[in-house]
């Protein structure tokens, strides 16, 4: 798939293990990591001006970030379009075994604690929106606030929980991201 690398391409290839680490920490699933690594190099090798790039390493990671953003954005579309199938998928997924559940107990705890770090109103709006999948209008109706306010709570909830999740051990989290990617792949193949 990838053409035979040009000699100058070593400038990029020598960072491939670093790139692998970078993507692994953000994706978890080895297959997706490999796919993205391949995409990163494909993109770089397609760029005919690559030899004039002054900071190949920075360029490499810039491309990787772009592709990661795209990857996650596509995930949104899937979440949105498969709202109903979404729920069924995880639990018919046999890989989600008892053993796995025990393994992720600590991770689930981090997630639960992240919710607890939110102010009460935000916590409620965020939970109804993210764990119950009600629309902002519906959550607004339940709480007597406007959909825009709900959106504000969700935004704050996402930011605050992310801040918290970044603080907890990344090694702990890797198990969970494994599940995510397995899940997103299951949805993708539907």
């Amino acid at each position: 798939m990838v053409k035979k690398p040009h000699k100058g391409d070593q400038r990029y290839l020598k960072h491939s293990s670093e790139l692998h680490n970078f993507l692994s920490k953000r994706l978890g699933n080895p297959a997706t990591v490999d796919e993205l690594i391949q995409d990163v190099f494909l993109k770089i090798f397609k760029n005919t001006k690559r030899h004039s790039v002054e900071k190949p390493r920075a360029y490499l990671f810039a491309v990787a970030r772009n592709l990661l953003v795209d990857h996650f954005r596509h995930n949104i579309a899937r979440q949105h379009n498969n709202m109903l199938e979404f729920d069924e998928t995880i639990h018919t997924d046999t890989s989600f075994s008892e053993e796995k559940r025990l393994e992720t107990r600590e991770d689930l705890r981090s997630l639960a604690v992240a919710i607890r770090t939110l102010p009460p109103r935000t916590r409620k709006a965020f939970t109804l929106s993210r764990l119950y999948k009600y629309s902002y209008a519906e959550v607004g109706e339940m709480m007597g606030i406007s959909p825009r306010t709900v959106e504000g709570h969700v935004a704050k909830g996402l930011a605050t929980c992310t801040t918290y999740m970044l603080q907890v051990d990344t090694r702990e989290k890797s198990h969970m991201t494994d599940n995510i990617v397995q899940f997103s792949k299951t949805v993708a193949t539907k």
Binding site: A112, Y132, R148, E151, A155, T177
Partner: protein
Amino acid sequence: MTDKKTHIPDRALAEAGQWLARELEGNMSRTERADFEAWVDAYPDHQDAYIETHKTSILFSNQATKEGRQQLVEAAPELRPLIDECEDLSTLASKNSRLPFALGGKYGWISAIAACLLVVLVSGVIFFGNDPFANHYSTEVGELQTVMLEDGSIITLNTDTSLSVAFSDTERRILLKHGEAFFDVAKDKDRPFKVVAGKDIVQAVGTAFNVKKRADTTKVTVTEGVVEVKSEPFLGALTNKAGTNKASTNKVGPSGTISLAVGENLTISAAGTQNAVLSPLEVECIMAWRTGMLHFNGITLSNVVKELQYYAHKEIILTDEAVGELVVGGSLNTHNISAFLKGLELTFQIKVIERDTVIILSTITRQTDLSSI
């Protein structure tokens, strides 16, 4: 350098949260999408923040089932009260069919009344001075902007608007220098939310309202909850006009404040203060600017033009009084004002001429005079 995951700036994370919250609901406009792409491309920090925020979001999505929530409660029993509460709300919502949500629509939530407040009269100058901590937001002519504040409140700025935001432990202060803005206030009973527009102060705890400040008037419209308005001219002007007020429930309180409920509108000007109770449709017309629309009904063209001038890049000139006295009605897109004005030619005996910097409206008899322009 590439992997400082834990050093993503809070601001980038906050913004990523805002973008994702918008994106998750699936109703991003084309412009917003472009803005998002510009934002995410601007800095690696933004990309990292977006990626990490996304990961968090997916973790929650994975638990968004009955079993998933159960797992969370098992892992962290202290979460049970929250989940129980949400479970109750959820049961309640599914008992009432989904229909009320749809029908209640825009105004369903408005009925929820917010708590009330205290008012302190301080002038805008004392409020703000040269507060180095204040954040400033402004829009150009024709521009709309939505910002989320650190407390979760959301402000939408209409065209040619400028305001400052200063938060302290005891209050949230907004100085509306000029223009129009819609405030969707996050509840925080310990920190009242005050909008200072000249000599007028609008205060809320957690409500939604619109404030329009023009050179000679301030107009406040409430779309959710209750707000209190304090203004210097109140004591004199309103009591004189008390008999003409449609809203009998709203009178000047002992402290010189007027409290406004959902659907109420207050216009304060040197000429006096007018308080009106609006129909949901009228409220919607006032709020239409947020979608780039303006609705007029039975007002003179000179008044329409006066308002349009805030949105138009070109100067709109009425060459004679007769044009200005025409009574017009209708809806227009603020991004295409010249099309609207041009359209007037079809209905009225007027000529509309557009040049690089001006749009000239005149009665048809004057047409020849203008041919040299």
